[in-house]
Amino acid sequence: MRTLNRKLLRDLATLKGQAAAIALVIASGVMTLIIAVTTLDALSLTQQRFYEDFHFAEVFADLKRAPESVAGRLRDIPGVNQVETRVKASVRLEVPGFDDPVRGLLLSIPEGREPLLNQLYLREGRLPEPGRAEEVVISDAFAEAHGLRAGDHIEAIIRGRLSTLRVSGTVLSPEYVYQIAPTDLLPDYKRYGILWMNRRALASAYGMEGAFNNVAVSLQSGASEAEVIDHLDRILARYGGIGAHGRDDQHSHRFLHEELKQLRAQAVILPTIFLLVSAFLLNVVMSRIIRTQREQVAVLKAFGYGNLDIALHYGMLTGLIVLLGSALGIGFGAWAASGLAAIYTEYFRFPEMSFRLQGWVVLLAVAVAAGAAMLGTLRAVWGAVRLPPAEGMRPEPPARFRRGWLERSALRHWLDQPARIILRNLARHPLKSSLSVLGIAMSLGLLVMGAYQLNAVDHMIDTQYRKVMRMDLHLTFSDPTPVRVHSELRHQPGVLAVETYRSVPVRLLAGHREYRTSILGMDEQPYLRQLLDGRQRPQRLPPEGLLLTDYLAQDLGLRVGDAVRVEIQEGHRQTVTVPLVGLVDEPLGVGAYMQRPALNRLMREGPAVTGAWLMIDSGQERALFDRLWDLPGVASIGMISEAERNIREYMDDTILMFALVFVLLATSIAFAVVYNNARIAFAERSRELATLQVLGYSRGEVSWILVGEILLLTLVALPFGWLIGTGFAWALNQAFSMDMFRVPLVITPGAYGFATAVVLTASVAAAVLVVRRLHRLDKVAVLKAVE
């Protein structure tokens, strides 16, 4: 082996602590990119495969009832490829051994076989046999939540009639990757199940013989979705169609899409920040490490080693560290990504995860890390070889010393000698000191950003469930119901407060933009379901006009005072114009709000409601449920505490899991940076410190010079770190706003505190490590060895 290579390995061994720390920074940078991009890729790839393989439909329409003969006309619509008519029924389920209300959705499949569109993936058992009226297949998430297997029985109340169903298998459907009840934000597999049944059996139970109330359509390639939707709407209007829609407005797809969008934001912003920060740190750290070798560079040059040899030598040193870091990053990144992807499959029900490590991601991550490290290395090597060897060999000149502000200021009178040495050391190398400060500040910034994510999500959910959704139960009725239901509900034992509302499905139109949602017609001053203004105070609904979630208004390009065109999707189905009179600030979901009487007028109906919010006495919950279920017209009962629990769980598992991984990485970066700074300071000062000790300074005083420098740099870095972290959080927040939820830009003192604590701990740990090293240091050897 060439001696130069031997030197390389020895140097690496000497630097092992620092090299490991740098490898950690590289690994963290590489990991973030791989985790984010690979998880995203796994989800979108899996989605795409499932959609294709199981013929996910492209246009969907609900209607009251149309004879099967209409299907032929639908097939003739230009651009339509396949048409699958179905019977779809909302039902109540009773699962043996489970007392809470369970909502169900029953869908028809052709007698005993797969439909043309939205085919089912059979996880267990078989499809219902032709002619078997009692057999159903159930969604696998629902089966899992209740431990149901093929052969088990459940009860369903279809149009008021109880029937016992036998589970013949469990399935997955591209239509219900994300299984969520219509009024919910998140899946609740225990309380919402999807079932498939033979067409004839369901039609007869639901009064739909020879007819259908739902249709799914696939398009020919190149066909215009909008035109097909128009066509469908025109044909189905007579049959009570409530507006066909594409995948964009299909529940499961939309949530999946939102989730991917959010993940994409994370996948871009987080790794970019992480990689840039690690690139900066690598650059700085590598160049400082190489700079401590400037005497050796001069010696090598003096004996005739060329600049290229020397650059290659140090390039290899860096290369080995990069290699180690990248290998760690790729390994752990792939491992973490597959873990995260697996967590997502809890929420998104796919047959199997398609997981792959893409070459370009690995390449990009490694190239950025290696590039930054090499740049720092070569910068320092260049600085060293540019000097004539005679100069490079001289120990770092004590020459540059100037009597600075320190000597002149009044400070010097009460600073002891070690303190003066610390300040002078820092002031003498302002660039080096500022880079150290910046490095620590950046890693602090990463921590603030990570902690922000962790805290802000909690803050968001708190706002939603403490300030906005203050009810315990959420009831929906199958049809508009007279308002007297209010007092009926109010007089149920265990009910403490009731508010009713009218909900109307609409399409909001503004310019060329549109959005499907529902208008909630509420009391003038709702208490159980509050509407917050920009300053988080509950607001009152004006007698006329529409309020929108601020995010939605912005998305539609609307401002208060503008006229909003509202296409009503129910009843007379007309398009009306309503003024936008106010904005609502809410973190989860988006919506449109009016006073109920105004909405009833818009619908040209009397005072009618379609749902109610209840506050209840939790002691009487069980009995109350039973009575509420027995009220005629109650379609669903939702428990808000369950919803909150679900959303917290979901956030914990997904976003917060991500955030946690990143906080861990940020923590390791912070440790690596602080430790490296300390080690370099140690390397640069060891001669001086040994000399001082030999001259009679105590161990403590000498240690203090080193520790003081490390701590001082850290303290100076804190405010910058907070600032940088706030900037990072802002950048993340910008990318994070979407329909489903908007994480507020609220950085709690806790987030700053946590990040600061990590960095301070890292500093103290690094200080302890280098002080121990200082005490082990052989003073004589240091003074003797003039490298």
Binding site: D11, A302, Y305, P388, P389, A390, K784, E787
Partner: protein
């Protein structure tokens, strides 16, 4: 070991000139203060001769040697090595010059701490054209027993001898030694000087030795005295005394 008078420059004017400096100056700028380390040095070194440079501390000896060896550049004036102009030579040319022709012993040894004695020599022999074995060079300076010691495990004198072994191992055309015996007792010092003389005789290497020790001047062909950055005088010895006869 008596030197043949015919070998001496004064004895035969036709000796090749190896180094020639003209009006060499070196000025260091320290803040606002200019330090004139060299203030016009005109000097010739001849092939195969052994010169000793004397002079007070700070008189510019190291500076002159560094410039001749291509380790530093002059502020003005010219340096020539045989046919090669070093004054404005490129970094690359200087690197090749050092690699192919020059052996150095630095005043502060400048060993590489992470390499053993043997490796400190090997790192130079590996890029030389016609080197000795590192072990051979270390034996010449009496360090056969210390091959695998790291610099930190060697005494100052031993480190200095490794530095000399490193310089002679490549069997260079010129050997520039900055205080090669400064840290050595007289016995070891003489052993080292004998090694230098051996190289000088056997390979016809031009050797320049900086020292504060007047006695060492007696082994030289010429003694060059520097003072305040100028050549004060050059003394030609009639006869070189073998190092073995020197006492201090």
């Amino acid at each position: 070991m008596t030197a043949d008078p015919a070998k001496r420059p004064e004895g035969s004017r036709n000796r090749d000139v190896v180094f020639e400096t003209r009006g060499l100056t070196k000025t260091y700028l320290m803040g606002d203060v200019e330090i004139h380390a060299l203030q016009g040095v005109d000097l010739k070194l001849y092939a195969g001769e052994l010169v000793v440079m004397l002079g007070a501390s700070g008189s510019g000896k190291s500076t002159l040697l560094n410039i001749m060896g291509g380790l530093d550049t002059a502020s003005s004036g010219t340096v020539r090595y045989r046919d090669q102009e070093l004054t404005n030579a490129s970094d690359k040319a200087l690197t090749l010059f050092r690699r192919d022709h020059v052996g150095f012993v630095f005043q502060f040894y400048n060993l590489i701490a992470s390499l053993t004695a043997r490796e400190n020599v090997a790192i130079v022999t590996e890029i030389s054209r016609d080197p000795m074995l590192p072990e051979e060079a270390l034996a010449l300076v009496g360090l056969k027993e210390r091959l695998d010691h790291f610099p930190a495990q060697l005494s100052g004198g031993e480190q200095q001898r490794v530095a000399i072994a490193r310089a002679i191992a490549k069997q260079p055309a010129v050997l520039l030694c900055d205080e090669p015996t400064g840290a050595l007792d007289s016995k070891t010092g003489i052993q080292v000087l004998e090694a230098l003389e051996h190289i000088n005789e056997a390979m016809d290497t031009t050797v320049a030795i900086i020292t504060h020790n007047e006695v060492i001047g007696e082994m030289a062909d010429r003694v060059i005295r520097l003072r305040d950055g100028r050549v004060e005088n050059i003394h030609v010895n009639d006869k070189r005394r073998p190092p073995g006869e020197l006492r201090w």
